[in-house]
Amino acid sequence: MSTESPAQQPASSRVVLAEADINRALTRIAHEILEANKGSQDLVLLGIPRRGYPLARRLAAKIAAADPSVAAEDIIGQLDVTMFRDDLRRHPTRTPLPTQLPAAGIDDKVVVLVDDVLYSGRTIRAALDALVDLGRPRIVRLAVLVDRGHRELPIRADHVGKNLPTSSVEKVRVRLAEIDTNNGSPAADEVVIEDFSA
């Protein structure tokens, strides 16, 4: 997970969400989360590395802005799912990333899992398994920036930034300023569809 350069260049790529679109989608999701939860009580946002975590931070900041009674830092966490994946034997080993929970823990909380792209659903299955070992939330919900379909498991998202019909030869790449770089400087936020069919 260290290098960003793809093994092969895509035949074509197009930007489907630009910085302003991502910001609007996240603002809407933040308000949806507050609405579904009838406020910010017991709310915990757990981002799935790598790009789910900065998205969860942004959502937490928006929730804190909408409801001054919560501090963004108190409701944010990171949930690493590496060691719960079902495809460990098919890939070279990956270094696990830290799991950090809010100080209040997740027992009896409303946990919102946050990831960038929902595809097969296998990452979310791994996240649900990882959660069981950490505590017993009252409710678990799922928020994703992009839902691209092609589910392989009975899993669906509660809050979706954008539904993006794709073919399986395409790849959806999310770039976020917090993590990604473009020639050494932080990349602009964007969601790109890359076509590998050619």
Partner: protein, 334 residues
């Protein structure tokens, strides 16, 4: 990485990856559910031809926390005492379905023989061979050192190395596989190593090692070090007189109360005292030093489980690099 035989084979990125993984594994030990499903259904055999308490139990705990099945094999009371060869023993274990063999052997090079001979397909982990190497001990020492060094520098330990750290390894270097494994690994990670020992307890060829050699512990301590690693005097391997008396050894090369007081007075509050265990209290280390706040002996044991979990995870969980597609693009894009 298919086998873990020697720290001399570990490149710096591999070593840092093991230590980083161990950081996450050590967080698991603090949780209520101290178990991960990564090695479910896989079998780890502990093949011990030499006595051991902490290494065997540590490997057993590590494998069990990763949900592997563990089979313990001690040479005493087995068919080895009827004269069965290493090859036949290993092939028998593999026929029973071992995915990894953790081996400790009195002969230097036995794990390398097992890994390189084609006798078995399983992953081989060296848990100490003769006076050659003990890589997981060196890794847990490096892990303990890295946490200390990060604390002294006020940084997070993940991703860092030991560049510039001064480490003294003191005592029975001649018989110590821990000293050899530590030397290669600590050099790879950028630490400056000084070996301190009586001339009789330094092996032939140690002049060529990439470290400073000293015969005077007080001078080394006065020059300032960030960690002092005391080694056990391995009486069971000594068939000759290497030093005149235990009192003389203790007063010249042991970490006794006087040296502890001198270290406390020198103002180097961050310097730690390490020992791989088992300790000969009163010989190479005094009880006051072993029980002082500087001592990391129990931290080393605790870290040992995390480091061995990391090693087993990295060796056993992944597919082979050649069989799997390129990792980065496939994982990053969804």
């Amino acid at each position: 990485m298919k086998h873990l035989l020697s720290t001399a084979d570990l490149a710096k990125p591999d070593a840092v990856q093991i230590l980083d993984t161990a950081e996450e594994m050590s967080a698991v030990s603090l949780r209520e559910v101290k178990k991960l499903p990564v090695l479910r259904g896989r079998t780890v055999v502990n093949l011990f031809f030499e006595d051991s308490t902490r290494t065997r139990i540590s490997f057993e705990a590590a494998a069990k926390r990763l949900s592997a099945d563990v089979i313990n094999f001690a040479a005493k009371g087995s068919s080895v005492s009827k004269g069965e060869s290493l090859k036949d023993t290993a092939q028998t274990l593999e026929a029973m379905g071992a995915d990894a063999v953790v081996i400790r052997h009195w002969a230097s090079g036995a794990p390398a023989r097992l890994a390189g001979s084609g006798w078995i397909e399983a992953t081989v982990v060296n848990a100490g061979d003769g006076t050659h190497e003990h890589p997981t001990q060196a890794l847990l020492d490096a892990f303990t050192l890295r946490r200390t060094w990060a604390k002294l520098n006020g940084t997070a330990s993940t991703g860092t190395d030991l560049a510039g750290m001064k480490v003294a390894i003191v005592g029975d270097i001649l018989h110590s596989r821990v000293a050899r494994s530590n030397l290669w690994l600590l050099r790879t990670l950028g630490a400056e190593v000084t070996m301190v020992a009586p001339p009789t307890l330094l092996p032939v060829g140690s002049r060529e090692w990439p470290c400073t050699i000293s015969y005077d512990l007080d001078a080394t301590l006065a020059a300032g070090t960030d960690a002092v690693m005391m080694l056990r005097v391995q009486g069971e391997r000594m068939n000759a007189a290497y030093f005149p008396s235990t009192q003389e050894y203790s007063s010249r090369w042991g970490f006794n109360d006087l040296r502890l007081a001198a270290l406390d007075a020198s103002g180097r509050d961050g310097t730690i005292i390490m020992h791989p265990g088992p300790m000969n209290r009163g010989l190479e280390i005094s009880s006051a030093a072993a029980d002082s706040p500087r001592s990391t002996v129990l931290d080393q044991v605790r870290n040992g489980v995390a480091v061995r979990m990391a090693a087993l995870y990295l060796l056993l969980s992944g597919g082979t690099a050649s069989a799997a597609p390129a990792p980065t693009a496939a994982q990053e894009a969804k």
